[in-house]
């Protein structure tokens, strides 16, 4: 049966702990959707919760805050993977609960 466990861990480790243009704290904060304020915090929150409402202005605001396109790319990836991770982990916990696992 399929098992994304290893590949998912590798992805998370790469985007959070590997080399990149955005700082390690910013990537981790984007992944967790915490501790970021201003236009960057707003963009991360939108990516996590309302990505379909994002506009050019949201991306431009991050540029105007001084982020390069590579940094924005990395932050957006971290925000998207982080939100998907939280949802996946919550669902697996619910399944374990339903199936009577510890």
């Amino acid at each position: 049966m399929s098992d994304i466990g290893h590949a998912r861990k590798t992805l998370g480790k790469r985007i959070l702990d590997g080399t990149g243009e955005a700082s390690f704290p910013d990537r981790r904060a984007a992944f967790n959707n915490r501790e970021l304020s201003g236009s960057l915090g707003a963009l991360v929150d939108q990516v996590a919760l309302h990505a379909n409402r994002i506009t050019d202005q949201d991306i431009n605001a991050a540029r105007e805050a001084g982020l390069s396109e590579d940094q924005i790319f990395e932050i957006v990836v971290c925000a998207a993977v982080g939100q998907a991770n939280r949802q996946y982990d919550a669902a697996i916990a619910a399944l374990d609960d339903a199936a009577g696992k510890e």
Partner: protein
């Protein structure tokens, strides 16, 4: 595409590959491919490993079922690019266009096996509300899906909750149906590697 580097910042070898794709397929390179190929060691390669396992790894769900789940996640996220892309793959996999559109528009009443229906509804709730509880999972188990089938479906959901967010945030262009059909043919033949 909202970030110019993702449109034109690729290295020479990747640009040559894109030119080849355009020539052979007679279609534009899809934005999802441009993102996967941009600094591929950061996102594209590790994410493709996840998606390949979720969509083409061993599972009691068929390829069509998993592509349908991807389209359902995309529909719930209101991600037009992913809905069209994965509806096209599911239609080719099932060989039945109407079945996919019926399932996406009304999964509660569509003609489909109960385990798949219950799983689609659970994935919709998880994607819409960002969480589910044990009661939701008991409903899927009671409908006949095995715990492993649910895990396999959650893997699909993970992948497309990432990819859909990138599509909407980065502003993927919506190409013609012919371009989606060409992409679907490729994904069925080659997978997500």
């Amino acid at each position: 595409m909202r970030l110019q580097v993702l449109d034109s910042g690729h290295g020479f070898g990747t640009k040559a590959l894109f030119a080849l794709i355009r020539t052979v397929s007679r279609q534009p390179v899809l934005d999802v491919v441009k993102v996967v190929k941009y600094r591929a060691d950061f996102y594209g390669k590790p994410m493709s490993a996840v998606t390949q396992e979720a969509m083409r790894g061993p599972s009691n769900w068929s390829v069509g079922d998993r592509e349908l789940m991807a389209a359902m996640v995309a529909k719930t996220n209101e991600c037009e690019f992913c809905v069209k892309a994965h509806s096209a793959v599911a239609q080719k996999a099932y060989g039945h266009e109407q079945k996919v559109s019926e399932l996406l528009s009304d999964p509660k009443n569509a003609h489909v096996a109960e385990p798949l229906r219950a799983t689609l509804l659970m994935l919709g709730k998880l994607t819409r509300e960002h969480t589910v509880n044990a009661e939701d999972m008991r409903a899927v188990l009671a409908a006949g899906a095995s715990p492993q089938q649910i895990k396999d479906a959650l893997a699909v959901c993970f992948s497309f909750n990432v990819i859909g967010r990138l599509a909407d945030t980065l502003g993927f262009s919506i190409p013609s149906q012919e371009a989606f059909d060409a992409g679907a043919k490729y994904l069925l033949a080659r997978g997500y590697r």
